[in-house]
Amino acid sequence: MNNQYFLRNLIAKPEFGPFVLLALEIAIFTAINPNFLSPQNISNTLAFTVELGLIALAMTLLMTAGEFDLSVGSVFGFAPVLMWTLFNSEIMPLGLAFFVALLVASLIGMANAWFVARLKIPSFLVTLGMLLVVRGTALFVTDGFPQRTWSAGGSFLADILVGSFNIGPFRIYMSLFWFVLAVLVLGYVLNRTKAGNWIQAAGGNPGAARARGVGVEKTKVALFMLSATLAGFSGIISSIRTSAANPNSGTGYELEVIAMVVIGGTALTGGRGTIIGTVLGIFILRTMRNGIIMVGVPGLAYNIFIGAIILGMMALHSWLERRHQAGT
């Protein structure tokens, strides 16, 4: 009786669907290629996953507040280019350049927020426009040339951001800790704090929230800034780890990140969001990309699989939801 209640409660959680999907996915890939669960492959998958994951976490909060941000991919590319340009042209030391790059990223977020919150322009158009401006600026200032980077190691900043070490057979990057930290902090903020209540209210019924004196606009400004800053941060981490700062990097990440968030169970229309769901969504999509290469799907068919799996997973998701809603 009690057991059954517990089970029903578990199934009722919005995160249950994505959880089942992830488990299924891992089971299938491992069955096809046992190397899929090798420590080496897990370490490999984790490295980039958490970088994209950082953006998805911020996007979860933003989407809960009823907005979304298509410019994250361009900021992901722009921030490291800016940092390395400042450093390479000897305008400032790397540490300072790092902060300047983050500051500029947050200003981009603020500009997005200004258009959305003040001028009431749909965030789709604003961030699409911003995407073009930021990407264009990155190209223009660098003349299209990638920035020189040194390989990681040695520097204090590099150690903190992307230093790696081994735990048993696993190679763990510092970025994993940043990711876990972000999960904890943002999960706490969304679910437990006053700010979290405001975020959900801003997305659920902005009129009602405003009428109660909730700073809906202020909340959105903060979230746009958060999303841009984390996108910049994750771009810098990625650029140091991969020793590449190319004005084109991050192209197309926006859709992938939004898909992660939505697959995790956050409502596309705002009001309801889940950090745990997003974490599951992140792993569902990245595992899929990694697994597809591991099991040897032909390069040109790659997209067919990604697309078909998104559709299949969503169908499963909707079926699970329906079962739960049917009650009894």
């Binding site: 437990r192 704090t193 006053k194 979290g196 405001w198 019924n205 405003r210 909730v214």
Partner: protein
């Protein structure tokens, strides 16, 4: 003798080409319960939306305690001690009862906006409030608003105003959707408001409810105030109904 709290002067309001308000004057004194009556589309909701900063007036001025104020947003109104419960009750369907009750004024443990919500306190107060407002069923405070019945939602909105009492409380058709017990709870609340030093504007189509609690009745018709000093102890319900509909419509029934 009576101490003036709110004075609205020559308020006009256009929605695009529609004129919803025309030269409206309204005074509310401290500790006064004013009933605002009028037929559908008379402009009642618009008038109190102007007063609570939800829509900007096209013309006219607002004074609070004799001081001219600008109502540019609901925040201005809240800062000036005006609390409003809208007709289309303003709750967030995804949030729980407790979170809705405390929305915008959440008690926290720790630093300001990033402080942890004091859920224990929120739940306790919520349970207490739901009881006061007359909800007989035992609804847990963490139930999402979206799962409540129409009347239960309305009751939550009322409960909120009861808790965060301000100088002026505006209720736009608060008894709609409410059952017998809940309606009693709301009317009691309005009576208590005066005793605890608050002024109140009550809009309702059920004239009987209005007569039970108000000090003075103001009637609007077609965007204008047509009577602003009706004493419910002197004038009859029938007479007020006639004023509301306009004499010429007498023939209708």
């Amino acid at each position: 003798m009576a101490e003036e709290l709110i004075r609205m002067e020559n308020i006009g309001k256009f929605y695009g080409r529609v004129q919803a308000l025309k030269d409206v004057n309204l005074v509310v004194n401290r500790r006064e319960i004013v009933g605002l009556l009028g037929d559908n589309g008379a402009g009642k909701s618009t008038l109190i939306k102007v007063l609570s900063g939800a829509v900007p007036a096209s013309s006219g001025d607002i004074y609070i305690s004799g001081r001219k104020v600008k109502m540019k947003s609901t925040n201005d109104a809240i800062a000036n001690g005006i609390e409003t419960i809208y007709q289309d009750s303003a709750l967030v369907p995804q949030l729980s009862i407790a979170r809705n009750l405390f929305l915008g004024r959440e008690p926290t443990i720790g630093p300001a906006i990033l402080g942890r919500l004091d859920t224990a306190k929120m739940n306790e107060v919520s349970r207490e409030l739901l009881k006061q407002v007359g909800i007989s069923k035992n609804i847990p405070p963490d139930t999402p608003i979206g799962m409540l019945s129409g009347g239960e939602r309305q009751a939550v909105a009322i409960a909120r105003a009861m808790h965060f009492d301000s100088e002026l409380i505006i209720l736009d058709e608060p008894t709609n959707n409410l059952g017998v017990a809940e309606t009693r709870g709301v009317l009691n609340f309005v009576r208590r408001a005066r005793d605890t030093d608050h002024a109140c504007i009550l809009i309702a189509h059920n004239i009987h409810h209005v007569f039970q609690v108000v000090d003075r009745i103001v009637v609007m018709r077609h965007g204008q105030v047509v009577a602003d000093n009706i004493d419910p102890k002197v004038t009859s319900v029938d007479e007020v109904e006639r004023i509301i509909t306009g004499m010429e419509e007498e023939a209708l029934l």
